[in-house]
Amino acid sequence: MMETGPPLLEVENIEKRFGGVRALQGASLSIAEGETVALVGDNGAGKSTLVKAVAGVQPADSGTIRLRGREVAIRSAKDAGALGVEVLYQDLALANTLDVAANVFLGDEPLWLKLGWFSVPDTRRMDAETAATLDRLRIDIPDPKRPVANLSGGQRQAVAIGRTIHRGRRELLILDEPTAALGVEEVRKVLALLRSLRDEGQTMIIVSHDLEHVFQVSDRIAVMRQGRVQAVVRTSEVTKTDIVRLIVGDIEDAVA
């Protein structure tokens, strides 16, 4: 399937230890351009750790990462960003005391006056673009000028998603549990957004525990267990029961 060029992202044999805990024990995964891959697995399987390795916030101990066939060194979030990898973290990385627009643009502000650290951001533009993004997500935040600490879980999630889709150059969008902790209506909005991003050709990795959501948005499903990607299957060729059995380890055969 679509084997025209090298995959957009290839991770191979990624290992990561936290003291005695071997969170990743040789995880490998390959994603084609324009594809949406769901990453599933039990609690502690290593999904977030794999995401953080690719995002550079917790660089891997060993293993290789290739983007479009070229080996890249991702040692920091800055490296990943320069390569066009955008991440929505599970543990909502919002600065609680800043407002919505400040969070959406944090670290990537449009500038009104360029002066290094002492640059003056273009807040007018930030407010307008943030409002447009919230509109697109159909998320209503009555007072976007207040600190995001005051927002509901869904609204906070919307801000976090708004941030990830706002970056200029994103080759790969990684979302760690984008629908966790959301209300029914908010889940629907987020899923609709993910589908429209997929239709626009955005390459995505989506981590989720909700197989219903996984089946709605993914092209393929990668199942992690004990720090490894145990199986990768085409979403259209399997049932939820198959996935559940792969997650708990009932079936040992890895499908490519």
Binding site: A93, N96, F118, A131, D135, D143, R146
Partner: protein, 332 residues
């Protein structure tokens, strides 16, 4: 529905009336305290407290605290603290003062070299905190002791005197009735306000204090920016040292002792969170004035130096306790 106009409208509708807004201002408490104390001191001392001359005296005494308060506000915004400010002043006084007195430093270089020496002292704090990972309180406690030790070692019981006119002018001259030191302090405060509220730097230090891992994840250079707040604090200690040297026309081993207490009290009383993520330069300005007024008023009502210290120490505890209280009851 969420256009900029809608947002602007909601800003006024969404958050209750003007009174509620005022109450939510971080420096509301300190503003009230100023009004109350002002009335109390005026009532007790009658003529002497409530005069233009006395207000100038308060401001002149408070200028050093305001200069340092700006840097302290930056450091605290990141969730840090710098208690070595007084000791940095001591070192700057010793090196620059003796350089001037012994003639190996041309007076032209007095101001830039004071700032530079201060910045280097601050950079050492920043290095220890961000590269070595020493908690700010302990890192600056270490230099609080070490820098003062150096000053005492270097100066002994000597007193540097006969400083050049530039330096004396910084401490003593007045322009249009306002002391130069007060003008310098206010200029630094205005610049500090701008940096905190209008630049990326202000946003980033707030983000760092609010959620360091969020700041890291958005590619803010957390370590460099955090360290820079201590460099700024050091440079400002250099400016403060010039003001003190100029005012006294001398430098001694004890110069700057105890200022850190005033500065920290002023910044926290002003409404800046000791835990980072929320700060106010206007609050710092008011906090500095409150502390200056309190000291001045206490002297005039006959309370001695030791009573002042007792009150200052308790005030810091009260201010932090109040912040903890607000943090528990309100979000953020």
């Amino acid at each position: 529905m969420n256009g900029p106009a809608g947002g602007a409208r909601n800003r006024f509708l969404g958050a209750g009336g003007t009174a509620e807004r005022a109450l939510a201002l971080p420096f509301f408490n300190v503003a009230v305290a100023i009004v109350v104390l002002y009335a109390v001191f005026t009532a007790i001392t009658g003529e002497t407290f409530n005069t233009a001359n006395n207000q100038i005296t308060i401001m002149r005494a408070a200028a050093v605290f305001l200069i340092l308060g700006v840097g302290q506000t930056f450091a605290m915004t990141t969730g840090g603290i710098d208690i070595s400010t007084g000791s940095m002043i001591g070192v700057v006084g010793a090196i620059v003062g003796s350089g001037l007195e012994l003639g190996w430093m041309d007076p032209i270089y007095a101001i830039p070299s004071a700032i530079l020496v201060g910045a280097v002292l601050g950079a050492f704090n920043g290095f220890n905190i961000t590269v070595l990972g020493v908690p700010p309180l302990l890192a600056t406690l270490g230099t609080f002791v070490a820098y003062r030790g150096f000053t005492q070692y270097y100066m002994g019981v000597n007193l540097v005197t006969g400083l050049p006119d530039v330096v004396v002018a910084v401490g003593r001259a007045s322009v249009l009735g306002l002391p130069v030191s007060v003008i310098v302090a206010l200029a630094i405060a205005v610049l500090g306000w701008f940096v905190l509220n209008r630049t990326l730097y202000g946003r980033y230090i707030t983000a760092i204090g609010s959620n360091p891992s969020a700041a890291e994840a958005t590619r803010i250079n957390v370590k460099a920016i955090t360290a820079s707040t201590y460099v700024i604090q050091g440079a400002l200690a250099g400016v403060a040292a010039l003001v003190l040297m100029g005012r006294l026309d001398s430098a001694s081993a004890a110069m700057g002792e105890g200022v850190e207490l005033h500065v920290i009290a002023a910044v926290v009383l002003g409404g800046t969170y000791l835990f980072g993520g929320r700060s106010t330069m206007i609050g710092t300005l008011l906090g500095v004035y409150l502390i200056g007024m309190l000291e001045n008023g206490l002297i005039q009502t006959g309370a001695g130096f030791f009573v002042q210290r007792i009150i200052l120490g308790l005030l810091i505890i009260a201010a932090v306790a109040l912040q903890l209280q607000q943090r528990r009851s309100g979000p953020g």
